[in-house]
Amino acid sequence: MAKETKLAANNVEKNMNLDEKTANVLDVQDMYLYFQTGKGIVQAVDNVSFALERGKSMVIVGESGCGKTSLGRAILRLLPENVYKYEGSCLLNGSDIMQYDDERFRKEIRWKRAALVPQSSMNSLNPVLKVSDQVAEPILIHDLADNKEQAREKAAEAFKKVGVPVDFLNRYPFELSGGMRQRVAIATSLVTDPDFIILDEPTSALDMLTQANIMNVLTKLKEEIDISFVLITHDVSTSSEIADMAAIMYAGQIVEFTDAYTFFGTPLHPYSERLMASVPTLEADDEELGFIPGQPPSLINPPEGCRFAERCEEEFELCSEEPPGFEMEDDRIVKCWLYREGGERDANYGK
């Protein structure tokens, strides 16, 4: 990928220590990932910024097609061929890993520092490899073990962490249930002991009880080891199971970034509000499930102003211009003209 290599060559990266315990484990600033297609340029990730404090986990929530997977791939530099624009900065423990060349990124960052459990990874395990060998693979690739035996030991350790019985080590993927395969996929991301793991829709294809099981596994891992999860999901309810922070994504952009308590309690952005209102609940006595009429805009030539404007009930003149992300008093960030820096929501801004 010519583009990214050029970017790296232009900036001789400062010497920074990846082991440094900076306040933020991950700090993404002005991230762009556009794709070139026959129909035009797809703005899948459009100027996204957020920072994740060490020891915390976050969710990226949004409807399908809003760019969640692309954002995860941009952070881990797992890019397709048709990239049109890929830029921004991404600080891992304070070091800008966007400046690393591909070789260094592969050797020092991907899997070792930052891992990904891709969407439907439980169905993409290698069918002819025993699961122990699949889990051991990242260890061997990164020379994190002296020999195969040691690698298998580490794999067994990872299995234990995610609750796969050790005698499953010698089985093939088809001999395991969906829930067990998903645990194996998570174990694969754990063996290299990364600082953070991006989990892309880890439970969407699973049944209710299995989903709950996987969420329990993640909660336990969070308590037991020093790790941050970045959970990507379209499911607001399950996202609450491991979220300390929540990023709400709409049409390629993050429209709200806040801590989970405020988000699940009082979402600020009109899109977040509507999204929360459309979440089915067991107990409230609302008779009807809310929904957001209309469709998200195309990411090819999206509207110039606020991307939610067409579906927003509060839209007003200012909204034909793109709102910046306003930082509220309590550090929440809201990308909407109903708000102002350091301020509260004020319907008068609409007047």
Binding site: E63, S64, Q211, A212, N213, H234, S240, E287, F291
Partner: protein, 339 residues
């Protein structure tokens, strides 16, 4: 409401649908007991949700009800008459009383047919020879589903429509024969979140306007209360609990139902500190199901010598509820068993 002969639409008695499994095409291995002793009653105009995890037999039950699978054992009674799968004439009539909305609109609509042709097809098959009559019905149904202007849709082909519009066409097709029952098998699970609720609301609307009975199949228990009055919970080829939705959500009876409700996440930031209580193990193999209660290997209330030996029958509870669990053998209400 007691079920009287009059408002009873459909009844199943000890319904079984087993699939034979053969190795290399001829060595008998066993049977997958996808539907294994199902009993229910469904009233006219009633909306029921059939909920259960994937593989528990929901689609097989749906297809058996629709006459696509022939039951291995047991009986279906429609409007007082036993459904006789050997009688072609009456089967065609029976099948036309049930509209089918399947999971995947892309797979459900033949790509080479125009929407008009797709909607005419069931009427042609059922001998409605008068083209004007067919078109009139189509217009009526499409207007009911707010697919207007109708003419614009009729000329189109499935690929020219969005997923939500395609699913509307599937719904329209299920309605052109004026059925008495709609079978909706996970009708929105393949659709984008933004159109799901719209489609479900649409099904709810036609259900109440046409006084249709609807069986809404889903694995998503959290949406059920918005769309149905009653719920059937299925596990391992059997219906283990039948209840009005609200009573079940407030006071689940069967231990499996209780486990499902515990497992569901509600959007609450406090969840981050809590673990979910989940029964150990996996759903049973239907090729070799456990004896006694199918849930017994995972059930923490299992009564030894009973649950692992004897299949629990449906016990009647107050508020028109049934549950197939031995814990309720001497009880009258769901709340009588504190778990």
């Amino acid at each position: 409401m007691p079920t009287t002969e009059n408002n009873l639409l459909l009844q199943a008695k000890e319904l079984r649908t087993w699939f034979e499994i053969k190795k290399w095409g001829f060595i008998h291995v066993g049977h997958v007991r996808a539907v294994d002793g199902v009993n229910f009653t469904l009233e006219r105009g009633e909306s029921v949700s059939l909920v259960g995890e994937s593989g528990c037999g929901k689609s097989s039950l749906a297809k058996t009800i629709m006459g696509i699978h022939q039951p291995t054992e047991g009986e279906l009674i429609f409007e007082g008459n036993s459904v006789d799968s050997t009688d072609e004439q009456s089967m065609r009539q029976y099948k036309s009383e049930i509209g089918f909305v399947q999971q995947d609109p892309y797979g459900a609509l033949p790509p080479f047919m125009s929407i008009q042709r797709i909607l005419e097809e069931p009427m042609i098959v059922n001998g409605i020879k008068d083209k004007d009559k067919r078109l009139k019905r189509i217009h009526q149904v499409m207007e009911e589903l707010k697919m207007t202007p109708v003419e614009d849709f009729l000329k189109k082909y499935p690929h020219m429509l969005s997923g939500g519009q395609q699913q509307r066409v599937v719904i329209a097709r299920s309605l052109v024969l004026n059925p008495k029952l709609i079978m909706a098998d996970e009708p929105v699970s393949m659709l984008d979140a933004s159109v799901r609720v719209e489609i479900l609301e649409l099904i709810k609307k036609i259900q109440s306007e046409r006084e249709l009975a609807v069986i809404y199949i889903t694995h998503d228990l959290s949406t059920v209360r918005y769309f149905s009055e009653r719920i059937w919970v299925m596990y391992g080829g059997k219906i283990v609990e039948q209840s009005p939705v609200r009573n079940l959500l407030k006071e689940p009876a069967h231990p499996y139902t209780r486990a499902l409700l515990e497992a569901i996440s509600e959007p609450d930031a406090d969840n981050v500190h809590n673990y979910k209580k989940v029964p150990s193990g996996e759903p049973p193999s239907l090729l070799n199901p456990p004896g006694g209660c199918r849930f017994h290997p995972r059930c923490e209330y299992m009564i030894e010598g009973l649950c692992d030996q004897e299949i629990p029958p449906d016990f009647q509870l107050a508020n028109d509820r049934l549950t197939a669990c031995w814990l309720f053998r001497d009880e009258e209400e769901a709340g009588d068993v504190a778990l």
